[in-house]
């Protein structure tokens, strides 16, 4: 186990750890210098001759039929080169396909890019303009006349499931585990995971806690807005530069929407300023292409504004959640029920399925039922967000678990250890665990200096919570070119969000026993390597790293073979140690060998992988807070994470993932929420009023990396990127209870919400409401 309070950078202190030469060190990332000197090219930086600027007109209404769109005034404005609407997109088929980012109905995909018959949320794209300047494009968009027939907005689970609820999607029918309903509905799907005897489990329980919770819509909050540039070649080939987590996912979606073969489109991923799941769906990419077509094949760039990003991309689901857990007198869970109602936004596809897996995953439970409901509402189509769906349900489950421990007078860490899931236990959906580290993360928190130190002071409280994430393997492709000077070019297609170019290059360097600095890693476009899944599911360092490991082994094997030919010895007689190839009296360095073996024929390697055994991740966290009783404001005093990280390839970037997940989780817990007016218009589409935490709102987040190497990866890598956003809301809520005696049943635990809850508790005690005069 390695503990650290520093997010170290550039040190080589861990050199030689576990016999590794490169793995476990903290080298500078290959993109670092360009980023800190402002030379890195992000999507909005793309420039070229004759570039036109696009602007997207968006619906001011949450729910309306589009009667007609008149673009004539916009087209007449000098400088305008093209105006498009959904009528300029090919007719989309009402069928479901998997385009590398989960299954999606193609009609919905197309309608989300440009609305055809209805607008389904405030901010829904209805038309777009290309002009010679961004200002002209914006002014022209204001001249487009859209005739809307307003419909009542359907904003929440309760609105959507009401008997007389207005219907969002006319062809939608409830899919109930394969059985499709007959009626029009806003309930897209229902499922249930069941095992054991739930009724018997609750009947025999010593204590049952049954609570309902509400969480609000939140956004991923990546700092770089979406941007894309489309360029046609004279032969009809198209290039798109865009900020994306998956260039192949963009290619798949754009080609489906525009009905063009994948061979006609090359997607070039630029540097990316954050994604967190929100840069997988396409928004402006297909629009830039059709604007370009209509503008006489001139290149078109669209850069979204911050307000548009918040109103029309992301977010992740708000939810209503019921959790009921029973325990026996010893504190062992006897039965658990979770009902998850997730708002998908305008089109089906909330993360309720993943949420069900997260829900009770940290616990070994024989009698269990988890029901999931995917519900459409007049909010933006939900997108993935770091451990999608997990934070909502963990807030609910970890709150109930904390209340059970409190009522049993048990230490909450001991409760989690007693009930902790381990190898051969089952996830809610029945999946059986291989070796996992949940209990180890709880023990690491229990034994931490943080948890062992007393917390004193009025209105202060400490909370802990656990969380699970499934992780993913996915498909990766990469090539490696041996340069005659002994360096290696590593070409891979996984967008680098969290320092993955470094962590992947380190695995290649380790595999070849060369220095990290000898590997030049770059992220390439969709024409250069074969299919590559998105940077998502905490898969990249694991899966693309595996491909890099394979490349290293292949290159070394071929180098040995060619040297054996030159030296006229058997391939098995060539040894490679400490960076030197030798056989008998022959001996050359790696750099010399790189030249020697390519005298007759160049050398490169390619690798494609699709690993299935990726291994899930667990995290347990401890937070100390202080509440200002007069204002309801929470100050985070101290935060410690213990995560089962497998093997940390680049510890700084693992710590960065841990801290980043918690920073987002704290924002979700205490301030972030979409605020709508009665007509369903989003009121806080700015970073001023959509309150993500700033550096002043967070303490140094301490990390305990529990290194249990994952057996299915040559270096023991386990996905680390997502799980840490799962526990924070529960941990903070549990700390709030310790600080104030109030159990929060909704997120965010904002000053206004907490103040109200404290007043309600006081009123309960005194039958008097202060401030209500």
């Amino acid at each position: 186990m390695a503990g650290t309070k520093q997010n170290g950078t550039g040190t080589l202190a861990a050199n030689g750890q576990n016999g590794y030469k490169v793995i476990g060190t903290r080298p500078v990332r290959p993109d670092g210098v360009d980023k800190v000197t402002g030379r890195a090219v992000y999507a909005a930086d793309v420039q070229m001759t004759g570039l036109l600027h696009g602007f997207v007109l968006r619906s001011p209404h949450a729910h309306a039929h589009i009667r007609s769109i008149d673009t004539s005034k916009a087209e007449a404005l000098p400088g305008v080169r093209a105006v498009v609407t959904a009528a300029d997109l090919p007719e989309a088929e009402d069928k479901v396909e998997d385009l590398g980012e989960g299954a999606i109905n193609l009609k919905y995909l197309s309608d989300n890019v440009l609305a055809s018959e209805k607008v389904l949320y405030h901010g829904h794209a209805v038309a777009a303009v290309a002009a010679t300047s961004p200002h002209i494009a914006e002014e022209a968009a204001g001249l487009i006349e859209v005739d809307y027939e307003l419909l009542p907005p359907v904003m929440t689970v309760d609105d959507a499931l009401a008997d007389d609820a207005p219907i969002l999607l006319e062809t939608l029918r409830t899919d109930s585990m394969g059985e499709v309903g007959a009626e029009q509905t806003n309930l897209a799907s229902v499922f249930s995971h069941q095992r054991g005897d739930l009724d018997a489990g609750f009947a025999g329980a010593h204590l049952v806690v049954d609570r309902t919770y509400r969480t609000e819509t939140v956004h991923q909050g990546y700092i770089e807005p979406h941007a894309a540039t489309a360029l046609y070649s004279a032969d009809g080939q198209i290039i798109i530069w865009t900020s994306t987590q998956g260039s192949f996912a963009v290619r798949g979606q754009v080609c489906e929407i525009l009905k063009i073969p994948v061979s006609r489109l090359k997607v070039v991923p630029t540097e990316i300023g954050g994604g967190f799941g929100g840069k997988i769906n396409v928004y402006v990419e297909p629009v830039a292409v059709i604007l370009s077509q209509k503008a006489g094949y001139e290149p078109v760039k669209i850069v979204m504004s911050r307000a548009d990003v918040l109103a029309a991309t992301g977010p992740t689901s708000g939810s209503n959640i019921r959790v009921k857990i029973g325990v026996d007198a010893d504190g062992k869970i006897s039965a658990a029920l979770a009902e998850l109602y997730y708002e998908a936004g305008a089109y089906p596809g909330s993360p309720v399925g993943a949420a069900a897996n997260v829900s009770l995953a940290p616990y070994a439970i024989d009698n269990l039922q988890v029901d999931g409901y995917d519900i459409v509402v007049n909010r933006p189509r939900s997108a993935a967000y770091r451990a999608p769906g997990g934070t909502n349900v963990a807030f609910a489950v970890e709150s109930v678990v904390d209340e059970l421990a409190e009522k049993l007078d048990m230490d909450p860490a001991e409760f989690r250890i007693l009930n902790g899931a381990k190898e051969n236990d089952r996830r809610p959906d029945g999946l059986q665990y291989a070796r996992i580290g949940q209990i180890e993360t709880v023990e690491a928190i229990r034994d931490s200096e943080h948890y062992q130190s007393p917390l004193e002071g009025k209105y202060r409280g400490r909370g802990i919570a656990s969380g699970y994430w499934n992780n993913w393997g996915g498909q990766s492709s990469a090539t490696a070119v041996l340069n005659p000077d002994g360096t290696v070019n590593l070409n891979e297609a996984s967008t680098d969000i969290g320092g993955t170019r470094a962590s992947i290059a380190m695995q290649l360097a380790e595999a070849m026993d060369i220095e990290y600095e000898q590997v030049k890693a770059r992220v390439v476009d969709t024409d250069t390597v074969s299919y590559n899944d998105v940077t998502g599911g905490s898969r990249t360092t694991f899966a693309t790293g595996l491909a890099a490991y394979n490349l290293g082994r292949q290159l070394l094997k071929e180098m040995k073979s060619r040297l054996a030919d030159q030296w006229e010895v058997a391939a098995g007689d060539v040894s490679y140690e400490e960076g030197t190839f030798s056989a008998g009296s022959e001996s050359v360095s790696f750099a010399e060998a790189a030249g020697l073996v390519q005298r007759e024929e160049p050398l490169m390697a390619s690798s494609t992988v699709h690993p299935q055994d990726f291994g899930p991740g667990f995290s347990t966290q401890c937070v100390d807070i202080e509440v200002d009783p007069d204002t309801g404001k929470i100050t985070i005093l101290r935060y410690t994470i213990a995560q089962d990280v497998g093997k940390a390839i680049h510890p700084s970037y693992v710590e960065g993932q841990m801290q980043g997940g918690v920073a987002q989780g704290i924002g979700w817990a205490i301030n972030e929420e979409y605020i709508y007016d009665d007509e369903g218009r989003l009121l806080n589409a700015s970073l001023l009023d959509y309150r993500m935490p700033t550096s002043l709102d967070l303490p140094m987040i301490e990390t305990i990396m529990v290194e249990v190497p994952h057996p299915a990866h040559p270096y023991g890598v386990r996905g680390v990127g997502e799980v840490n956003i799962v526990p924070p809301a529960g941990a903070v809520a549990n700390a709030v209870f310790q600080a104030t005696g109030v159990r929060m049943d909704k997120l965010p635990i904002s000053p206004a919400n907490l103040l109200e809850a404290m007043w309600a508790k006081e009123a309960e005690a005194a039958e008097l409401v202060p401030g209500d005069d």
């Binding site: 200002h135 914006e138 002014e139 307000a307 007069d630 204002t631 309801g632 404001k633 205490i670 301030n671 605020i675 009121l683 806080n684 970073l687 001023l688 009023d689 309150r691 935490p693 700033t694 002043l696 709102d697 904002s750 000053p751 206004a752 103040l755 109200e756 007043w759 202060p770 401030g771 209500d772 005069d773």
Partner: protein, 303 residues
């Protein structure tokens, strides 16, 4: 953002002419931290922008035994960096440190904050507590209004066509004077006040009695709100938590907030009392010479 004409006069008269000629479609520009954002977001459409920063009077700082006169375009950073102002008007720094981050403070001015006339402006309750006078130039010459009379509604003020703010004048602080501005925000930075409270006191020579006091609130009414009765209730009273609590109750009663995405009515009324009492405590401590600006900075979330 639509195109507009830009003029940069060097005298008050030229600026008055340019503004009068533009009618309602011309506005003065100081730091531009509100104006440019409003133009970019389409919340404001102008034909002419009149940059007043080349007018010497607008950029002047004059401090003497008679008081402090701040040109309307003086940037917050120029105030923060002025030791004489920090010594004489430490509470003014409460606001100039809160308006935007460091880069914004290099552009944003107190005059601009006043003329933007947001009900939640972080300087205005403080200016009211300091009994500031606003000096205005216009086609009919010069006139002056008290800070509490400057704003007339959200984003609206007493400036008529062709008029603009030239300077704001702080009286010399009397002996045993102390003031403070506090706001409540959900985060620790980058936020708009849910409620703001400015307070000032003048203590007796033995510093046990409040001779006079002024209280003003932000974000609880269509304009920054001068709560005269709260200050009056303290006049002649001993310094005690009971008297402060009474003034705080009056502030709560005076507050007429709305519920919006930044706060609810009960929350804002409650915070009006909490912040009034806290601001008064700090003002008293300052009058007694027992608290520094830096300590206050921590209270306001600038740790």
């Amino acid at each position: 953002m639509q195109a507009f004409d830009f003029v940069a006069p060097t005298s008050v008269d030229e600026a008055v002419s340019a503004l009068a000629a533009g009618g309602g479609r011309a506005r003065p520009l100081s730091g531009g931290t509100d104006l440019i954002a409003q133009l970019q977001e389409g919340r404001l459409a102008l034909d002419t922008v009149v940059d007043v920063k080349r007018i010497p009077e607008l950029m002047a700082i004059s401090i003497s035994d008679d008081g402090l006169t701040l040109g309307a375009s003086v940037a917050c950073q120029s105030i923060n960096a002025n030791q004489a102002i920090r010594d004489a008007y430490p509470a003014l720094i409460d606001s100039t440190h809160l308006i935007g981050g460091t880069q914004i403070q290099g552009r944003a001015s107190i005059g601009g904050n006043l003329c933007n006339s947001s009900p939640a402006a972080d300087s205005i309750p403080n200016l009211i507590a300091h009994s500031v006078t606003c000096h205005i130039a216009g086609p009919n010459g010069r006139r002056s209004v008290a800070a509490e009379d400057f704003c007339t509604g959200p984003g609206r003020n007493v400036l008529a066509n062709g008029e603009f703010l030239v300077a704001i004048e702080f009286p010399a602080p009397p002996a045993n004077f102390g003031a403070a501005y506090l706001r409540f925000i959900p985060r620790n930075e980058m936020d708009i006040a849910v409620v703001g409270a400015g307070a000032s006191v003048v203590l007796s020579d033995d510093k046990s009695t409040i001779q006079s006091a002024r209280v003003a609130l932000g974000a609880v009414a269509p304009t920054p709100l001068f709560v005269q009765e709260a200050g009056d209730s303290l006049a002649g009273q001993p310094v005690s938590e009971e008297t402060l609590a009474k003034a705080a109750d009056l502030a709560r009663e005076a507050a007429k907030p709305i519920s919006d995405m930044r706060g609810t009515i009960p929350q804002r009324k409650h915070l009006s009392a909490v912040l009034t009492q806290r601001a008064l405590r700090i003002a008293i401590d300052r009058a007694r010479g027992t608290k520094t600006v830096d300590e206050l900075g921590r209270l306001n979330g600038h740790g």
